[in-house]
């Protein structure tokens, strides 16, 4: 897949605008940030999740949506403030808990990470890509 051409897709919804680029950490399974991610390292600690042991720090995280505890917003913010948060988030459904962590980060630290929703087909493409660039207008350039 290394020399496959890049694909550009457009967000169905921009939940939190911003720009980012990075390696992709992707899973088809929903993830709860509270109890699922260590905010001091960004590493997935939910043993039942396929990304268990993977660091989300600096990555473009591709997940259908979040799940579980409302405290996920705190954990997301804590991770971002610690420098252990994702660079951007691409989902298939609107997720308020994840978006809220990014909104509060912007409001209180004037730093943004983009949170986007892609339609089903584009989301499937993102799941199998290895690197992504998110542009301010909501376009996502997928590589590999």
């Amino acid at each position: 897949m290394g020399n496959s051409p890049s694909t550009t897709v457009s967000a169905q919804l921009i939940l939190v605008p911003g720009e980012a680029r990075g390696e992709i950490a992707a899973s088809e399974q929903m993830l709860s940030f509270w109890g699922g991610v260590d905010p001091s390292t960004g590493i997935v600690i939910d043993r039942r999740h396929p990304l268990h042991g993977v660091s989300l720090a600096g990555k473009i995280v591709v997940l259908p949506k979040g799940k579980g505890s409302s405290t996920g917003s705190y954990v997301m913010l804590d991770a971002l403030v610690e420098g252990a948060g994702p660079a951007g988030i691409v989902m298939n459904k609107v997720d308020e808990i994840i978006s809220l962590g990014a909104v509060v980060y912007d409001e209180f630290h004037s730093r943004t990470i983009p949170v986007l929703v892609l339609n089903d087909d584009d989301f499937s493409r993102a799941l199998t890509a290895s690197y992504a660039e998110i542009l301010a207008d909501g376009q996502v350039v997928l590589h590999g």
Partner: protein, 432 residues
Amino acid sequence: MGRLQQRDVPASRLSLSKEDLDMLDGIQGRAAQQAMRIIVRMAHVQQATELVDISHAHIGGSIYTGKGSLNVIEELVSNGAKVRVPTTLNAISIDRSQTGAWNSGNEFDTNAGRLATALEAMGANPIFSCTPYVFPKTPQFGQNILWAESNAIVYANSVIGARTNRHGDFMDVCAALTGRVPNSGLHLSENRRGTLLVNVPGVVHADPSYYTVLGYLIGKHAGTDIPVIEGIRQKPSLEELKTFCATLATSGAVGMFHMVGVTPEAPTLAAALGNVAPQRRLQVTKDQLRQIWHELSSASSTTLNMVAMGSPHATLRDLAELGALVRGEKKHPQVEFLVTTSRFVRDQAQELGIMQDLDAFGVRISTDTCLCMFNPRRVPSDASGIMTNSGKFAHYGPGLTGRGIYFGTARDCVESAIAGMPIISEPEWLRS
């Protein structure tokens, strides 16, 4: 109005009241402005077109997770944050009434105390409980509120008939500081009708463990659907509804259910479904319930070192029933028997003499906090076997404590604590 034109407050499709706009402009102070900006941005995320007033807020963001979130709450306080509606606080990460494993003075516990202090400084009522519905002045049927804490959300929507969405932490604080939430989701009547019809088998001698297992099973299948439960013969108690709400929201993302003939928006099946055919059906069988009953236990140790009850917080009736089970008995010395509840309920139990039986048996009551605040430092280092009657703790406990958890009824927990080893028998509703 300068703030409104900023690129990051997409207010174009959102109609705001004069007061909302005043808050956005900072006329009500810096903290109200910060809170309203977040409410408006989240209204955009939810694609809401207006905000609604709330009559009550219950803040779940009293759990300490790290410095990033603590600093935001403390910054709001230093910017003059004051709640605009009656507001209660959920359980916190420490037990302030004692020192020891649950209030050790280490950095984590100290910061957890700072978070509680900051939220109190906003004017929130420090009930420190995950069961706000057992306190006086609960919200009424039809009122818009913002309640956090997953079991309380389901209870408010389903059992009380008040209206709240599942929000991330911070939204609860922002809603308390502004008195407003996006008008979306479960605030709207058309989104409150049942979509998943669940038929349950007739059982005799239903007890809280039945509702624990049933909720966990339905939550697994429901996803974000609103289940309509049909076939409940006897009206469940508050305690049974409490555990049902808790496990529905533990194994799934359920925010509301209907129980035909029990909950206020379900006088009939047709009313619960809004006179529309259900999108999906689930026929619950006893075999499925038996499978969940066994699946909730994740431990294999042959000894028992700890029993943990009170997730969600024990009610007065929970404590009275536990008192009756332990009367005249004594727990095994190697077993720590922990029950979490609120000071409010503990004080009532004290007045009624229930605490005497619990003390004599060796029960340790912890207030302010709850079992969801467990971390490995709070488990005795030699503890291998832990047992609970809480489906929620049976689910989250292994991740929180780093150990397997046995699940059984309250009676199993007491018998096991006396014997010092796990003794679990299938409950009567499963056997008959």
